[in-house]
Symmetry: C2
Subunit: 307 residues, 2 copies
């Protein structure tokens, strides 16, 4: 008996993914999906980012509107709400496609922004027949590239259903917060509030150890093995001790996130004294010209106090 190769049917065509904003996170997300076999089209304001995507075999669109008509879903990975507003509702924005929307009927919002902005964007999109997924991400470029980043998710189940396989390919760790748009944005800010405080706490402690004449590397090793251990301490203070402030996460980003978190808390009259103190340190880091350094640079505010 001879084994004959049974011709298999071709895999079902993958949806085309449109990615707006191919910076530190957007580009690795695009590369990851492209490598996994999704057709990917992109849009960015920076020509060099678009050239890089083009060289990697992705399509480049002249506007978010064009992207929405070439893709089945638009993934928005720009920096803040002001940029999202332009991408969605500006000239040549996603909302500018002829109604009813011709192709991309779903927009995934991956930036870390104020939850009320997420909710407002979703409402305006909804009025145009476009669904939104509240999907902030974390984990950094390396994990975006291999699909192991984390994603917090909030959207009605029916909105998520067609995209579960895509979401799994983008983010190995997915946390479904609730079915209410804005709740994932809230959860992201609450996490980043803790991360921001823990980072400043580590800087405060190591700078104190240095001032006390203790061996700071030994001190970091002790903290890492004791009750002071935290994920961000391990990650950032290792760099701070080497005076390596090459940005993996620029200081301005966590400054923005902790500011959004304290504003959110203030909106429900919940006190956040530690986050307020951490935010003051991050703001000082930015004011003293270290906004584009790694956020571990917050230790510099402790090492050399402002006169």
């Amino acid at each position: 008996m001879t084994a004959t190769a049974t011709p298999t049917s071709p895999p079902p065509p993958r949806p085309t993914i449109g990615i707006v904003g191919i910076g530190a996170m957007g580009l690795p997300i695009a590369r990851n999906l492209h490598r996994r076999g999704y057709p990917v089209v992109v849009r960015d304001l920076r020509a060099d980012a678009e050239h890089e995507a083009h060289a990697a075999g992705m399509g480049v669109c002249a506007s978010p509107c064009e992207l929405a008509q070439r893709a089945d879903i638009a993934v928005v990975v720009v920096v803040d709400s002001a940029q999202i507003d332009v991408v969605l509702f500006g000239d040549g924005g996603i909302a500018a496609q002829p109604a009813p929307p011709r192709r991309a009927r779903t927009v995934m919002l991956c930036s870390t922004i104020a939850p009320h902005d997420t909710a407002a964007f979703a409402q305006r999109l909804g009025a145009l027949g476009i669904a939104a997924i509240d999907a902030p991400i974390s984990g950094g470029p390396a994990r975006a590239l291999d699909g192991t980043m984390s994603m917090m998710l909030a959207a009605p189940a029916a909105t998520l259903a067609p995209w579960r396989s895509l979401l799994a390919d983008m983010a190995a760790k997915r946390f479904e917060v609730s079915g209410t748009i804005g709740d994932a944005a809230k959860a992201k800010l609450v996490n980043n509030l803790v991360a921001g405080i823990n980072l400043v706490a580590g800087a405060e402690a190591l700078a104190l150890a240095e001032r006390l004449g203790l061996d700071a590397r030994r001190m970091a090793e002790i903290i890492g093995a004791s009750s002071g251990a935290s994920w961000i301490f391990e990650d950032r203070m290792t760099r701070a001790l080497r005076d390596d402030f090459e940005p993996r996460a620029a200081a301005r980003i966590l400054t923005k996130d902790v500011g959004l978190a304290t504003a959110l808390a203030a909106s429900v009259r919940q006190p956040t004294p530690l986050a307020d103190a951490a935010l003051a340190r991050f703001r000082e880091t930015v004011e003293r010209g270290w906004a584009e350094l790694d956020d571990a640079a917050v230790i510099k505010t402790y090492r050399t106090p402002r006169p």
Copy 2:
């Protein structure tokens, strides 16, 4: 040929360990060493603690002075500097043994106290021919009992040399900070400063999540798997979410430790804005009558603000 049992020489006699203060940490330390074959004698002000040690087969001493004459080393595990002062230099204290010291010529100081107190005690003991080991401990009763707790160590190498095997039996994780008495106390305070901030940060974040109407358990799970993760968050917030404030570590302890840490920082003019904010929350916890609850109870100050 018949195998004959070769008589082996008996193991070298183990030193007798004297433990002063057999409370939450002292008693499990005593039990651990006793189980490992050390003769153990103890001293405590509370008769029931002494009965418990006696029932377990340990010797009970009428005073620290008697303990110092029956043991080869005195391990002091009382709460604070005031108690250590009495144990060492009070009536019937360790220093009251006839000079030169007849037996225990080494005192191990395991409490978390101000580094300048540690140094002052060591100096006064040294004048009497008694060596000190600066040896603060951490890890909780369960790890004290099985010998897996952590210990920070500072003492001249010659002081430590005879006790390395004892130290290894007491604490699986030992961090030698330096040869200077007081440096281990400093390192302990720096670690506890971070732990205290991280704990309050976790409470601040979860109370905020609750106020925002998020599912707090889901939020804790997200933080535990994200950039906000910390050892103390995982340990304490798990309890706080169950409203379980049965004390494993009473709130007054970390209040004391963070207060000592900020005082130490102030003594070298190093700012600690986050620790100051955390200390205010711990003090409020104590003032509102929750000093003897678990330190996770700091979340109660956020859940029900003081009017």
